[in-house]
Symmetry: C2
Subunit: 350 residues, 2 copies
Amino acid sequence: MPQNHSIAVIAGDGIGPEVIAEAVKVLHAVAPEGVRFNTTDYPFGAAHYLASGSILGDDDLTALATHDAILLGAVGGDPRDPRLAGGIIERGLLLKLRFAFDHYVNLRPTTLYPNVVSPLAAPGDVDFVVVREGTEGPYVGNGGVIRAGTPHEIATEVSINTAHGVERLVRFGFETAAKRRGRLTLVHKTNVLTNAGGLWQRTVNAIAAEYPAVSVDYLHVDAATIFLVTNPARFDTIVTDNLFGDILTDLAAAISGGIGLAASGNINPDGTFPSMFEPVHGSAPDIAGQQKADPTAAILSVALLLDHLGYADASARVAAAVTADLAEGSPTPRTTAAVGDAIVARLAQN
Amino acid sequence: MPQNHSIAVIAGDGIGPEVIAEAVKVLHAVAPEGVRFNTTDYPFGAAHYLASGSILGDDDLTALATHDAILLGAVGGDPRDPRLAGGIIERGLLLKLRFAFDHYVNLRPTTLYPNVVSPLAAPGDVDFVVVREGTEGPYVGNGGVIRAGTPHEIATEVSINTAHGVERLVRFGFETAAKRRGRLTLVHKTNVLTNAGGLWQRTVNAIAAEYPAVSVDYLHVDAATIFLVTNPARFDTIVTDNLFGDILTDLAAAISGGIGLAASGNINPDGTFPSMFEPVHGSAPDIAGQQKADPTAAILSVALLLDHLGYADASARVAAAVTADLAEGSPTPRTTAAVGDAIVARLAQN
Ligand SMILES: CC(C)[C@H](C(=O)O)[C@@H](O)C(=O)O
Ligand SMILES: CC(C)[C@H](C(=O)O)[C@@H](O)C(=O)O
């Protein structure tokens, strides 16, 4: 009996549709014998918001919730458009999905692929994953403003950290480290943020006892940025809070050749809600529609999606095809579609 | 009539005393004709705390407040010592001074000196300064824990941002940019931290109108880390909040050759309290007492101190001597004292 999976596709804005077209090509091409991925397109994004007045309503969430996973390209319009100011699309769409679908693991692998140029002179063997918390910390939207616009204005942001939220994330981090090189680094700022830092550190200490094969260390977030540029090979699995993870993963993408290659998974490990997979890059409206965007990050997001759905072999095949494609390189710039086609062609060979 | 300045010196722990000895040498050597720097030593630090039970009391603050400026080496003991856990020295000493003496500007210049090796393959012309807020944000110690140690624990951290605090910092940032290359970059996370981010962005917009010669742009903190490794030369003056500034300045130090060279000023521009100058590096207990530490960051902190006290020429002479010393380099490792002596010798020649 064929196994069907229903995948929601949010191509989004700017280069989103172009890179997603290649990602979907790859998804179909790599489907194991007897497995079918049925995709359903959703129009969400800045353009949809400007046309309809709606970003992501309750009905939309209900519809998305029926799928097995979500694949997203990129969302966001012209950064100078005042109607899109203040991160309204990012919060109304990306963060809303993370919170509504309890995507408490934000998984961001960093690999320096062969032939990819790092801005670091001697990057070494870069291969680590950041396990970023996705539903707590300073991202909760808790805080406010009084006396706005006056000389007495006070604006606050509250970082909320719960034992429930930290523990499940840290546990996922240990599971991840155990399957990798067995080295977990907690990144926080425990010397200043003593309340949240204490909870994170105690949680890691407690769960570490259950994973004797995983070695654990700790870095302050400021020191972690130093190591990311001086010795990124020291990292295997980084476990960290939502905001620190946001910062560290952009830096991680940069040292491994840019966010054109960085994939991410917004994961609900419990399976209560569909997980969402997306390239880390944005919608790059300046190059949209020109077939200039690199679809590799979107295609690597498909690899993460496949792994999440239990198709580890298919996931590895996509990663191998991407690696081979990068290793061979291209003497001249290729169109977005040409990159996707090249990767599909490699999949057909193996 | 000779002009006397009284300087409090907190040599601190680990390599602190060694690097401070060289910094004080330089301070005396560079004193302009008719100017005397009288130094008074204070014992504060981890060792003092372990011996006396006191980190920094009210009497100590009263004593320090009588000086014109403070020069600090490094504080902090053995990181594994449970009596020093949780950042007790950092908060009880460094942060306490920043808050008690209203050091609202945390000034951190980043220069890639000649002959200094950056971990970046093509760093370009790195010369910028981070104007970090020092008395607000998530550093205020506001927040708490309920149900500690239970599965229902909740830990919070509150970032507090005031119009008063942001405005004075941003104003200092524009003054700084106007004296440099006239380019100010606000770094925040306005698309997520909308309350604090809104206050920062509106404040920058308002003050920008008073500085038509300064161009202004904005980066999210995550994107800023990308530019710091792909194109650091794009930065001139970065204005940012306390926590983002902490993270960005360690990264900035790393790309410009390491925190062995990074100096910082904790400044109260109003002159109500003495400002404090210190290298960004820590106490490095593992190499303490071996004359292995590089005193350059401490010596560059003296340059910042001189500038703050109005001795711009003397400050520039120290910077020039350091630059020349680094440019010449040394075929073999030098002792801490040898570096200080070399810089003093250069000062005598010019
Ligand atoms: C767009 C933004 C809200 C988002 C975040 O801060 O999490 C992005 O930077 C990311 O890392 O996915
Ligand atoms: C020691 C620590 C409290 C301090 C900070 O976080 O500000 C340090 O990292 C710094 O940057 O001066």
